[in-house]
């Protein structure tokens, strides 16, 4: 097992190197001049010779190879570089924003777990009744709703006394207080809730007919123990797969949610960085995101072994 983990971790290095190269080429090929973004309005006010001097100094006139080697060298030294635009190191930007994005992802995951799995179990247990149809209809709506629209509706109904009840603040981070977390977590978790509900239902139904469940029932185990201890436990593999895959989705969905709810996460940094061609920030955040995704996949694989002793890695 330890060897397996080590081997997977070693694989991370060439994967990240490949991702870095592709990202670097894409960033290099993006049209436009980052200096416009660095200097803003001042660009049109400064004389052309000053602009040229600045371009030289930032290394923007260097060739592709020179810039690639320089970036790679920095990266190997553990230095993600410094933003062209913000007076901040990229590592500083990630260190500040990642915990906030993670907080939102955990909130969304929490919502999805406490709602999605029970809904799926109930729907499976009440298969083909009106309850099942109703819950699956609701989850279909949940899967289909665009995040920005859901966010807007949630804000209208739950923060505005004019349209609903002003239960929560409209937006803001405020040191990540719980009350500020509720709405963005609900919004970011809705799609995953709906997906989980549907997957849980299918998985539970699949397991229900298995011999070991019939045996468990026949030997007189209480209903709840069969349902949770046997049926759900054996249905967990597809559920965990979906959760693992959707963590990346949560990271992506967080861009819209962070914007609508003024949440200072990674998504809020990457969009302006792309718009303004802030290459170090783009590369840093995307590399970090890729690393995260690889690690989450690894953890997902390891959890398989935990929940299902039949799976062994060597």
């Amino acid at each position: 097992m330890a060897l397996y983990i080590l081997r997977r971790l070693v694989q991370v290095i060439p994967t990240l190197f490949g991702i870095f190269t592709v990202l670097f080429i894409l960033a290099y090929l993006m049209p436009s001049d980052p200096l416009r973004a660095v200097l803003g309005e001042q660009y049109r006010r400064l004389p052309p010779e000053v602009i040229e001097g600045i371009r030289e100094e930032l290394g923007l006139n260097d060739s592709f190879i020179e810039r690639y080697v320089q970036f790679l060298g920095q990266l190997l030294r553990g230095d993600l570089g410094r933003s062209y635009i913000l007076s901040q190191d990229v590592s500083e930007i990630i260190a500040y924003r990642f915990p906030r994005t993670l907080q939102l992802m955990i909130g969304g995951m929490f919502v999805a777990l406490i709602m999605g799995i029970p809904i799926g179990i109930i729907a499976a247990e009440k298969q083909y009744t009106w309850i099942d149809h109703f819950l699956m209809f609701i989850s279909l709506v949940g899967v289909s709703m665009p995040v920005f629209w859901l966010a807007l509706i949630a804000q209208m109904l739950l923060t505005q006394s004019k349209y609903g009840i002003a239960l929560f603040p409209v937006a803001g981070y405020e040191q990540g207080s719980l009350i500020h977390m509720v709405l963005p977590s609900l919004v970011i978790g809705t799609q995953l809730t709906a997906t989980l509900a549907r997957i849980t239902r299918t998985a539970m139904l699949e397991v229900r007919g298995q011999d070991y469940i019939v045996t468990a029932r026949a030997k007189g185990l209480p209903y709840r123990m069969v349902l949770i201890g046997h049926q759900l436990r054996n249905a967990l593999i597809p559920i965990i797969t979906i959760i693992g895959l959707n963590i990346g989705g949560l990271l992506g969905g967080s861009i819209v949610t962070e914007t609508v709810f003024n949440w200072p996460g990674l998504g809020r940094a990457i969009v302006p960085a792309i718009e303004r061609r802030d290459t170090p920030v783009i590369l840093g955040i995307l590399l970090f995101g890729s690393f995260l995704f690889i690690i989450i996949n690894l953890i997902t694989d390891l959890i398989y072994a935990l929940v299902n002793p039949r799976i062994r890695y060597s």
Binding site: S32, R36, E41, R44, R45, S87, Q160, N262, W263
Partner: protein
């Protein structure tokens, strides 16, 4: 177990509510909550190049003079008075005594309180004159001072035109008279001992302004508190300013409605009239200094040798329909010339009013009756303006003339880099003047072909150069008038609109007066909050 968990969760929620109370809420003087978007890139005054940065730094730093938001004229700040020699070359500033730098956490001055003195200003001025953009993007602040070129080139140890006569008197000598010297003198009052460590203070400014820096959580909020030692009696009257980052205009509106914001600057697209109707008593507007235009490439492509076609297009565009009706009054339709109407010389000899018949005549005169022979034209637009209704209106107006207009949308970075190229003949653009003076438009857009239209008329260049050194206000205005008339005749733009500063302001807020440059120019030291009106 379950009960214990429930109790824990309840406790967490209560704690979070306590944390959620804004920091300034318990202070006696209320804090002004201002929406902000985008976030400032940093807070270093020497490399400040965006409105987002100026929004905050305008409240934290002060220069020798400031600009009055209403009149736009220089007013005393760190200098309480100044004299100008008769030849307009020597400025003598008399500094205020007893002005203290902000007492900010993390900054220890050797003698406790640290007074602003002439040497501080001169050190900051010299610091700003460099070609190293990472140090300063504003060498132009002192461009007109004697010794500037030598100092910039590294041939002199000090800027010879700057002299501290004593701790409270600064003398500045100019190379030639410059009527705008005081308007563009952006050097901030900053303790000279922190200049070598500017990168440390790039995000935690220390100045002398009415508000001092407290905390900045990027993309969340930025908090300033009133400077208790500020030299103006009774100011600021509010406890501080909390800039709240709200990237989404709709969210900002919802926050304003729920009293989470005291001011609102941008309205969601398409909801402008509804918002104004809902908050009729809280709505304010004032003319701004931005000009929106469609630019023609003047030295390449189809339009370069077709003045009559350019004039025809300018007559064909129905600005009033766009801005008064379709865009719900978001800007003033450009019914005058190339300058915002508040500027001197803003009415040119010829005005391109909406006149489709005249447009058709001009096209025929140019040899293109009913648009025959004119190639399909691509209009380049930056993505954030893609839904501006001036585009379909212009498209339709030109179609009536027999001209096909294609709209090409590019993301802002690509667009800005592209429009200077020769393959772009026609583009949507805009310019924001910082001061209410024609030079701040003409010098950057029509002098020596510097702008993306590459408009370069030697006669205009000469007039603009003369105006720069002319101290007589009347003569200067005449020079700008002549230049304006020539530019208008050449028609390098279709002027579309002049900006309008619009904002909502809660009934308890008073004294918020933005200048033409935009709402960010308002001096928040003058703002008061009537606590009896707070909900």
């Amino acid at each position: 177990m379950v009960k214990r968990f429930t109790k824990f969760m309840l406790l967490l929620m209560v704690l979070s509510l306590v944390v959620a109370v804004p920091a300034g809420a318990q202070d006696e003087a209320p804090v002004l909550r201002v929406p902000m978007s985008p976030d400032p890139e940093h807070l270093n005054p020497f490399t400040a190049t965006t409105i987002a940065i100026s929004t905050v730094l305008n409240q934290v730093y002060e220069g020798l003079v400031g600009l009055d938001p209403v009149s736009g004229e220089p007013v005393p700040r760190l200098a309480e008075s100044w004299e100008v020699s008769e030849d307009g070359l020597v400025y003598t500033f008399n500094l205020r005594q007893g002005v203290l730098f902000h007492d900010v956490e993390g900054v220890e001055f050797e003698d406790g309180d640290r007074e602003f003195k002439a040497e501080d200003w001169i050190a900051a001025a010299e610091y700003s004159v460099t070609e190293d953009e990472t140090v300063s993007s504003h060498p132009e602040w002192l461009e007109s001072v004697v010794g500037y070129d030598e100092f910039l080139a590294g041939e002199a140890d000090s800027l010879s035109g700057l002299n501290a006569l004593d701790d409270y008197t600064i003398e500045i000598t100019l190379k030639e008279p410059n009527r705008l010297f005081l308007f563009t003198l952006g050097v901030p009052g900053i303790p000279q001992e922190i200049l070598p460590r500017m990168s440390e203070f790039a995000n935690s400014p220390v100045g002398t302004g009415p508000f001092q820096f407290v905390e900045w959580q990027r993309d969340s909020f930025l908090e300033l508190k009133a400077n208790p030692d500020y030299y103006e009696e009774g100011k600021p009257a509010i406890g501080g300013v909390r800039y709240i980052n709200v990237p989404d205009a709709n969210t900002a509106l919802l926050q304003y409605r729920e009293n989470e914001l005291d001011l609102l600057f941008s309205f969601p697209t398409g909801q402008r009239l509804a918002v104004i109707e809902e908050f009729a008593d809280e709505y304010h507007e004032a003319p701004g200094l931005n000009v929106r235009y469609f630019g023609f490439k003047m030295d390449a492509g189809f339009f370069a040798d077709e003045p009559l076609v350019r004039q025809a297009f300018a007559h064909a565009f129905n600005r009033e329909l766009v801005w008064d009706e379709l865009m719900e009054g978001a800007r003033f339709p450009a019914t005058l010339g190339y300058l915002p109407p508040s500027m001197p010389a803003s009415t040119p000899a010829h005005i391109y009013e909406y006149n489709p018949e005249r447009a058709a005549e001009l096209l025929a005169e140019a040899g293109y009756p009913n648009g025959e022979g004119i190639p399909e034209i691509d209009l380049y637009v930056f993505s954030t303006a893609a839904d501006e209704l001036s585009l379909p209106v212009l498209q339709e107006d030109l179609r009536q003339l027999g001209v096909t207009l294609n709209i090409v949308v590019e993301d802002a970075s690509t667009y800005w880099d592209h429009i200077g190229e020769d393959d772009v003949w026609f583009f949507l653009s805009g310019w924001s003047a910082g001061i209410n003076d024609p030079s701040d438009v003409f010098n950057f857009l029509f002098l020596d072909g510097r702008d993306d239209t590459h408009y370069n008329n030697p006669e205009v260049n000469e007039l603009l150069r003369q105006a720069m050194v002319e101290m007589d206000e009347e003569v200067r205005t005449q020079l700008y008038q002549q230049a304006h008339d020539l530019i208008t005749a050449d028609s390098p733009w279709i002027v579309s609109a002049y900006s309008k500063n619009t904002w909502l302001q809660k009934p308890w807020v008073d004294g918020f007066v933005p200048g033409g440059g935009g709402t960010y120019t308002a001096r928040l030291a003058n703002v008061t909050i009537d606590t009896s009106l707070l909900p």
